[in-house]
C-alpha cells in the first residue's frame, strides 16, 4: 500500500468558514504547554528530588506539607492538566502514525481519551479534597499536628 503525500508546496486546503481547525490548535497547544511544562516539571523535580534529601524525604507528611499551601495545589493541578493533555495528544499522533487498522486505531484513541479524562478528574479531586487530618485516617497513622479524634 502506498500513500500519496502532497508536495510540500501544495497550497493548503482552507478549512471551511466557521469551523475550528483542531489540528492547528493541537499543534499550537503542544508548543505552548511544552514551554510551561518545562518550568513546572523542572521546578517539581528540583523541589522533590534535588533539594534536601530528595526522594528519601518523600512520604505522606512531605506531601501533606506541600498541599497545605494553595501554591503547590495549583502548581500540581496545572501541571497535571497540561501534562496529561500534552502526553495524550502526543500518543494520539503516534497512534495515527502506526495503527493502520481503523478499528485498532479507534480502540487505541478511545483508550487514550478515557485514560486522560479519568486521571485528570482523579488527580484534580485528590489535590483539592485532600485533608491531612481526615477522620478516615486510622489513629495510629495520624500526623502529630492533627487534633486527637
Amino acid at each position: 500500500m502506498s500513500a500519496i503525500i502532497d508536495s510540500p508546496r501544495q497550497p493548503q486546503q482552507r478549512a471551511s468558514k466557521g469551523r475550528v481547525n483542531w489540528e492547528k490548535w493541537g499543534w499550537i497547544y503542544m508548543r505552548a504547554s511544552g514551554v510551561l511544562l518545562i518550568i513546572l516539571i523542572f521546578g517539581h523535580l528540583f523541589v522533590n528530588l534535588v533539594q534536601g534529601d530528595g526522594i528519601k524525604a518523600i512520604d505522606f507528611a512531605f506531601v501533606a506539607g506541600k498541599y497545605a499551601s494553595p501554591f503547590w495545589q495549583v502548581w500540581d493541578v496545572v501541571m497535571l492538566w497540561l501534562a496529561m493533555i500534552h502526553g495524550s495528544n502526543g500518543m494520539r499522533t503516534i497512534v495515527n502514525d502506526y495503527a493502520s487498522n481503523p478499528l485498532v486505531r479507534r480502540i487505541l484513541l478511545g483508550a487514550l481519551f478515557v485514560a486522560a479524562v479519568v486521571l485528570i478528574v482523579l488527580g484534580t479531586l485528590v489535590v483539592f479534597t485532600f485533608d491531612p487530618c481526615s477522620t478516615l485516617i486510622p489513629a495510629d497513622q495520624a500526623l502529630s499536628f492533627c487534633p486527637a479524634p
Binding site: 518545562i38 528530588l49 534529601d53 528519601k56 518523600i58 512520604d59 497535571l80 478516615l136
Partner: protein
C-alpha cells in the same frame, strides 16, 4: 527545479541497495525525532502511574508511604534517573523544535541546535544523576 531537488536528495551515495543519501535519513534530524518519540512514550506511561501513586495520599498515610517505599528501592532509583534523563532530552529538544518552527533562522541552525541539546542534556545529567543516586544508595539518616 523541483525535479532537480528531488533527484539530488534521493541520489544513492553508493551501490548499496539500502536507501541512503537523503538530507533526513540517518542524520541528526531523524535521530532527534526518534529520541523525542521514545522519551515521550516513556514519560507518558510514567505519568499514568505517577497520578495513581500520588492518589494514595487520599487513601491513608500508610498506603502512600508503602507505594513511596517502592520508589526508594535501588532498581527503581535507577529507573527514576533514566526517567529524569528522558525528561531533560524531551524538554531541550522540544525547545529546539519550537525554535525551528518560530525562529526565522531555526531551520538553518537545526543541526547546531541538536548538538546544543545534546550538550545541555549531558550537563543536566551530570548535575542530576549523582545527587539522585546518592539519595537512593545511601541509608536514610
Amino acid at each position: 527545479m523541483p525535479n532537480e531537488a528531488v533527484s539530488t536528495l534521493a541520489t544513492a551515495r553508493s551501490s548499496s541497495k539500502r536507501p541512503a543519501g537523503t538530507l533526513y535519513r540517518g542524520n541528526t534530524g531523524m535521530w532527534s525525532w526518534v529520541l523525542h518519540r521514545i522519551t515521550g512514550v516513556a514519560i507518558y506511561f510514567f505519568l499514568l502511574v505517577h497520578v495513581l501513586d500520588t492518589a494514595m495520599i487520599r487513601v491513608s498515610p500508610g498506603a502512600y508511604d508503602a507505594v513511596m517505599s517502592t520508589y526508594k528501592n535501588p532498581l527503581m532509583g535507577l529507573g527514576e534517573t533514566a526517567l529524569v534523563i528522558a525528561i531533560m532530552f524531551h524538554a531541550f529538544n522540544g525547545l529546539r523544535i519550537i525554535l525551528i518552527d518560530f525562529w526565522s533562522k531555526g531551520a538553518k541552525y537545526q543541526r547546531l541546535m541538536f548538538w546544543i541539546v545534546i550538550a545541555l542534556w549531558v550537563i543536566g545529567t551530570a548535575g542530576f544523576a549523582p545527587i539522585h543516586l546518592h539519595n537512593v544508595f545511601t541509608e536514610p539518616h
